[in-house]
């Protein structure tokens, strides 16, 4: 079973520049959470703070009864053994081939024999589809392969918490789909707590139990997926729909008058500019991604699957009734 992460009043700044302040959230044990946010809002900084690589100015992070921000160096290394982290570019060791990279944590932390190590490494490499590439150096392979190798390395010590720093960046849509399926399957298999930092909204709609949104130096909202997907909050709505109209601007936030005007336009049904960037696909709650067929679902996933089935029936029913009455409605929203 995964471990709960409880963040209270976390604030981080570099010099005079505040990155985010007063962030409080609880990542429930064993669930998948996604942290969204426009570029440059300190999502990666948040991940690095969680694992104790950066010290926050204020606040605390409770993991397994310990406050990561106040731990001594030695204890911090112990807590970090709970984590598996997938860095943006995989962060593989450039001087080792993939096999040694993935075997590295096992050789450092366990007393397993080379034969056992080989078995575990090959199993994880198979999981991420890298069998046959054991002898390659990180410099010789594509970004997608590096990312998958980084994931295999993060998984090798059976972590309780897995953090993903933009797992989709630099991957093609097909690989992103595979990766999303892999994340869901992994969650069903190992029951760890997942936190995914991304701005790919398609993944954020499909994968998580919970969604959080960082904007304007604070956590705008954090809660169950459906709550955010059906939220009326302008920032959340703008981000999840990839619209130009709304509080988020190109460089920074927009001024209040302009935001108000744009929101009024929206209310009047006056959309302008492109939307739907980065997989933002219309409003409302969309179906969730479930673990693959062959995987034994734990009770948590059984419940989710049942719930999803119910929602799907409801959606079908609505579509059917609308079709029957012939109302040209605005589509399925707000479920």
């Amino acid at each position: 079973m995964g471990v709960e992460i409880c963040v209270e009043g976390l604030t981080k700044s570099f010099g005079h520049q505040v990155i985010w302040q007063d962030v409080s959230l609880t990542l429930p044990a064993g669930e998948i959470s996604v942290l969204l946010g426009p570029s440059g809002t300190g999502k990666s900084v948040f991940l690095k703070t969680l694992v104790g690589l950066l010290k926050p100015d204020r606040g605390s992070i409770w993991i397994d009864g310990k406050d990561v921000t106040r731990l001594r160096e030695h204890d911090l290394y112990e807590v970090r053994k709970l984590f598996g982290v997938l860095f943006q570019d995989g962060a593989l060791f450039g001087s080792m081939d993939l096999y040694d990279n993935i075997a590295f944590p096992l050789r450092e932390h366990t007393r397993k024999s080379e034969r056992e190590i080989r078995q575990i490494v090959l199993e994880k490499m198979d999981m991420v589809g890298l069998l046959g590439a054991e002898g390659k150096l990180p410099g010789e392979i594509s970004g997608g392969m590096r990312k998958r190798a980084g994931l295999a390395r993060a998984l090798v010590l059976d972590p309780e918490i897995i953090l993903f720093d933009e797992p989709d960046s630099g991957l093609d849509p097909v690989r992103v789909a595979y990766l999303n399926q892999l994340i869901v399957d992994l969650n069903a298999q190992i029951d760890a707590t997942f936190l995914i930092v991304t701005h790919d909204i398609a993944s954020a709609r499909l994968v998580p139990d919970n969604i959080g949104l960082l904007f304007r130096r604070e956590l705008v909202m954090f809660g169950p997926r459906e709550e955010l997907l059906s939220s009326g909050e302008p920032v959340v709505g703008q981000f999840l729909n990839g619209r130009m109209q709304g509080p988020i601007g190109m460089a920074e936030e927009k001024d209040a008058a302009q935001v108000e005007q744009e929101l009024a336009e929206l209310d009047a049904g006056n959309h302008r500019g492109p939307k739907g960037g980065k997989g933002a696909s219309g409003a409302g709650v969309t179906p969730r991604l479930l673990p693959s067929e062959g995987i034994v679902r734990p009770p948590r996933w059984e419940e989710i699957a049942e719930y999803e089935e119910k929602m799907q029936r409801l959606r079908d029913l609505r579509a059917a009734s609308k079709g029957a009455v012939g109302v040209d409605g605005p589509g399925v929203t707000g479920i």
């Binding site: 690095k48 694992v51 690589l53 160096e73 290394y77 112990e78 970090r80 053994k81 984590f83 982290v85 860095f87 943006q88 570019d89 962060a91 593989l92 060791f93 450039g94 590295f104 944590p105 450092e108 932390h109 980084g150 390395r153 010590l157």
Partner: protein
């Protein structure tokens, strides 16, 4: 790097903190024997050839200067004694320091800096492995070991070069040159020179590691870090060399 005085203080403080961390981590098990051997081999391979090539002309310059100086003073019989003394006490630790810092230190700094900006160091920390224990300590120990050995090499090559230039080129008498070796020089000279080399090796590796581990700002940041690490090491080494020489004359009684 801004030039405010507090910034300079902060960097000196962090550098010293790393030095203390290395000291504290030194005995921690498991000892990184493999990494130590690899690094020793690596540092030796980048420094041996340049060291030998630098120490021959260095010995020659000393021999020429002393040869003509002793002739002017009418003390040819002391030319061997003086040149051995110079090579052993000052020339070889300085040549060792320059090469350890210039060839070994820059390589260490570039290696760690590249790992830092590729997030490898972060990844290592997240995997629960202390980079000071896993990477820095083996490099510091390797650099110290290689420095001590290099110092011996420079002494031998420097003295041999001095002999060649004094005896063969300046027509000195071989017997007198060799016989005067021990009139001024003594064994503590060699011990002290080795101690200097040991310390120089440690300083070069610690400064290089510090600069490498704090590199930021992409490939250019690594270049800057390497540059700064070599400059800082040189300054530190010459200061430390002066202090150690001063202590030596207070502690060890001189011959003659």
């Amino acid at each position: 790097m801004s030039l405010s005085p507090t910034n300079a203080l902060k960097h000196s403080g962090s550098l010293f903190a790393l030095f203390l961390d290395v000291l504290r981590t030194l005995p921690r098990r498991p000892l990184q024997i493999r990494e130590f051997i690899q690094q020793s081999w690596f540092i030796a391979s980048v420094t041996i050839l340049p060291t030998a090539l630098v120490s021959i002309p260095f010995g020659a310059v000393i021999a020429l200067q002393i040869g003509s100086l002793t002739r002017q003073l009418g003390a040819q019989s002391f030319s061997g004694a003086a040149s051995v003394l110079t090579v052993l006490r000052e020339a070889s630790p300085i040549v060792t320091a320059l090469l350890i810092a210039g060839a070994g230190g820059s390589a260490i700094c570039a290696d760690l800096g590249a790992r830092k900006i590729r997030e490898e160091i972060d990844a290592m920390e997240v995997l629960g492995i202390d980079p000071i224990h896993r990477l820095v300590v083996p490099r510091v120990v390797a650099s110290m070991a290689v420095a001590v050995l290099l110092n011996g090499l420079v002494s031998v090559v420097g003295v041999a070069g001095g002999y060649f230039f004094n005896v063969v080129l300046q027509n000195g008498t071989p017997g007198a040159y060799l016989a005067s070796f021990t009139t001024l020089a003594q064994l503590p000279d060699l011990y002290w020179a080795e101690l200097k080399a040991l310390l120089f090796g440690a300083i070069a590796a610690i400064v290089a590691s510090y600069k490498g581990l704090t590199a930021k700002g992409g490939p250019k940041g690594v270049g800057d870090a390497v540059n700064q690490s070599v400059v800082i090491t040189f300054m530190l080494l010459f200061v430390v060399n002066f202090v150690m020489t001063a202590i030596y004359f207070q502690v060890v009684p001189q011959r003659g």
